[in-house]
């Protein structure tokens, strides 16, 4: 049965309809890249969808079953546009979960506004994509700003000597790292009364970081902010320690990968970061889910699978709460939109109580992590 879910690139519309019933099913459209660019994200999300549907396909109450209409966008904008139209016009879904990439969301979200259908992306990261398409577009993932706010607070609180001035080291070539390093971190630091002495950049793929680090060292900061992907961040941290800079380090979302610690080795000890989904989280609900996932699919669940699972869960909660029945899809769409727009601390099984802010972006408390030995652990 479950094999069917994964089939190929074309239409995977699957009815989990348990025969004919008096009430209509509630259909939710799903757009994922199960082939092409980012296919691994799509596959991991399909895994999460399988696990979810096995447990939660019955909605209960007045509604029938939850029915998912899953299409593969191949990570392409034109597909995202065509399939969004198809889901809204011919499949007449109650709401759409997807698309997954920021570029896709940027072109599909305006269609959601025009088609008056709730569209929520589980993982697209770019700032402002939901804001530009009020009131129908939402994002489950935390923007980097929402991740860094609690991270910086935890980092600053942990220090015995207060941090007054920092240097930001960032990858100027990677879009997210550079945006965070130039815009997000400086604004958050300024709010906390911390002076940014300098923003020093390197490029993705660099091997020599000595010049940047010497420049940072000459400014004698109290702390260091590293905004880069795990490779470059690991090299930067190694070089910082090599040049005898022992200041506390806080890092952006790019380091959330075990390879950061593998490459950086002992130098990464104590580096703080934060993650929305953390597979090694000791919380029982997360640990049990991760174990189940690993047994089924013989791999560790990623951010992408966790985000899909929780988005589905919250969607189902909304369906229950607003008593959507699938009988009148136009009315249902409005109900679901209002449920998402007013979401306040609705408990997602893996990532915890989630709210939606005025920009349509998800907010919740991310897991603040610290490197301890060969692993990230939850910071106390």
């Amino acid at each position: 049965m479950f094999k069917n879910w994964k089939t190929g690139s074309a239409v995977i519309g699957l009815l989990l309809a348990g025969g004919v019933s008096a009430v209509a099913d509630v259909s939710i459209g799903i757009l994922i890249p199960s082939s092409g660019k980012g296919a691994s994200y799509g596959q991991q999300q399909l895994n999460a969808i399988n696990m979810f549907m096995e447990k939660y396909s019955d909605i209960g109450g007045k509604a029938g079953k939850l029915k998912l209409v899953i299409y593969d966008t191949r990570g392409e904008n034109t597909e995202a546009i065509n399939l969004s139209r198809k889901l809204m016009d011919s499949d007449q879904v109650e709401a759409i979960i997807g698309p997954q990439f920021s570029a896709e969301a940027e072109v599909a979200f305006p269609l959601a506004v025009r088609g008056e259908t709730t569209m929520i992306t589980p993982m697209a990261a770019k700032a402002g994509i939901a804001t530009a398409n009020r009131p129908w577009a939402f994002r489950f993932a935390l923007t980097t700003e929402n991740v860094y706010r609690p991270l910086l607070d935890a980092w600053l609180k942990k220090q015995s000597t207060p941090i007054k001035k920092v240097v930001i080291l960032m990858d100027g070539k990677d879009a997210v790292s550079s945006f965070d390093g130039k815009t997000v971190f400086p604004a958050l630091l300024k709010d906390r009364g911390i002076e940014v002495l300098d923003t020093v950049s390197f490029q993705t793929g660099d091997i020599d970081y000595s010049a940047q680090v010497t420049r940072a060292k000459s400014l004698n900061p109290d702390g260091i902010v590293v905004s880069a992907l795990y490779n470059e961040a690991a090299h930067t941290v190694s070089e910082l320690r090599k040049q005898g800079m022992n200041q506390p380090i806080v890092a952006g979302v790019g380091v959330n990968d075990p390879r950061f610690i593998q490459i950086g080795g002992a130098a990464t000890e104590g580096v703080m970061a934060a993650s929305d989904f953390f597979a090694e989280n000791p919380k029982p609900a997360v640990a049990a889910w991760v174990k189940d996932y690993e047994e089924r699919f013989k791999q560790k669940p990623s951010n992408a699978s966790g985000q899909m699972y929780d988005t589905l869960y919250l969607m189902r909660e909304c369906i229950k709460k607003t008593e959507v029945t699938g009988a009148d899809f136009k009315a249902d769409r409005v109900k679901l939109r209002d449920c998402w727009a007013n979401m306040k601390d609705l408990d997602a099984p893996l990532m915890g109580p989630t709210s939606i802010d005025k920009n349509g972006d998800g907010t919740r408390v991310p897991t603040v992590l610290v490197v301890k030995g060969p692993n990230f652990v939850v910071a106390q």
Binding site: G172, F202, S210, A211, R215, Q262, I263, G265
Partner: protein, 292 residues
């Protein structure tokens, strides 16, 4: 900070110099570009890593293994990608294509074997930091600098004092005349490839030791930098490559330190263009014209 940045530049530049010397040796004898030399450098780094992982003999053993592996690959490339083409007449274009091909093959093989991601390089050297007045250096940096200096002195002695070195210089003066004078040109070329590639291998291990991670694609950028250094120093000039390498390293570091890091390569290659405008044959002029 200036002194420390100069030291950083010398560290980086010494690895550029080693790679560039390899280029220039081969160009000297064959008048041909060896576009897989960056990949030979990469193979040396991986071989050195394996030595560190499997036998744990320390950095010196890693150097020797890296050096031998690269020398073998380099000589193999001469036999596979250069010699057959040379025998069929003097095409300048064919070896360029054949070495690009050979380089891609090496990259793919290493990607298949070790993965496309960066591989961490164990820090075999102490993380002790020595404060020498205004600059501080680590144990590994001292090791790297001494290896680079020793290698360059050894190379100088090799080309000036040994029979093969002298034959190599004669061949680079004029291949036909050298052959007429009874020098076994094919052997000399093979030895040149061996020596040049061994230097590349040493550079690979040094880069791994200093920067702690290597990848199958690390040779691409290094190859381009090595070629630029060869042009800056003067085609075929060993001493030009040494000075040119240091110069490029220092310019790169200084542009990051005092200007904008995103323009680092622009400054590096701008310097190359400037030098070629002022001195078309490079800093150390040789008989080889760039327009050849």
């Amino acid at each position: 900070m200036l002194a420390q940045q100069l030291a950083n530049g010398v560290m980086l530049g010494s690895t550029y110099a080693l790679v560039a010397i390899g280029y220039t040796l081969i160009f000297g004898v064959l008048r041909l570009l060896h576009l897989a030399h960056g990949e030979v450098f990469m193979v040396g780094a991986f071989a050195g890593l394996q030595a560190l992982l499997w036998w744990q003999f320390g950095p010196l053993a890693a150097l020797i293994v890296g050096l031998i592996a690269s020398a073998v690959i380099g000589m193999l490339l001469e036999l596979v990608a250069f010699r057959p083409i040379r025998k069929r007449g003097n095409s300048h274009l064919a070896p360029i294509v054949s070495t690009i091909g050979a380089g891609l093959v090496l990259q793919e093989v290493m990607t298949k074997t070790f993965g496309a991601e960066q591989t961490p390089f164990p820090s075999a050297l102490s993380r002790v930091i020595y404060n020498l007045g205004i600059i501080s250096v680590t144990g590994s940096q001292i090791f790297i600098l001494s290896v680079a200096i020793v290698t360059m002195i050894a190379l100088h002695l090799f080309v000036t004092r040994t029979r093969y070195g002298i034959a190599m210089r004669a061949t680079s003066e004029n291949l036909q005349v050298a052959a007429i004078l009874g020098i076994n040109v094919n052997t000399v070329i093979l030895v040149t490839f061996g020596v040049a590639s061994a230097l590349g291998g040493i550079a690979g291990v040094l880069v791994g030791l200093n920067f702690n991670a290597i990848s199958p694609f690390m040779g691409v950028e290094m190859g381009i930098k090595g070629m630029a250094v060869m042009l800056i120093g003067g085609l075929g000039s060993i001493y030009g490559a040494m000075i040119g390498g240091l110069l490029l390293g220092i310019v790169e570091v200084m542009s990051v330190a005092y200007l904008v890091s995103s323009l680092r390569d622009a400054f590096a290659f701008g310097l190359m263009i400037l030098i070629l405008i002022l001195r078309p044959r490079g800093l150390f002029q040789t008989g080889i014209r760039t327009e050849r």
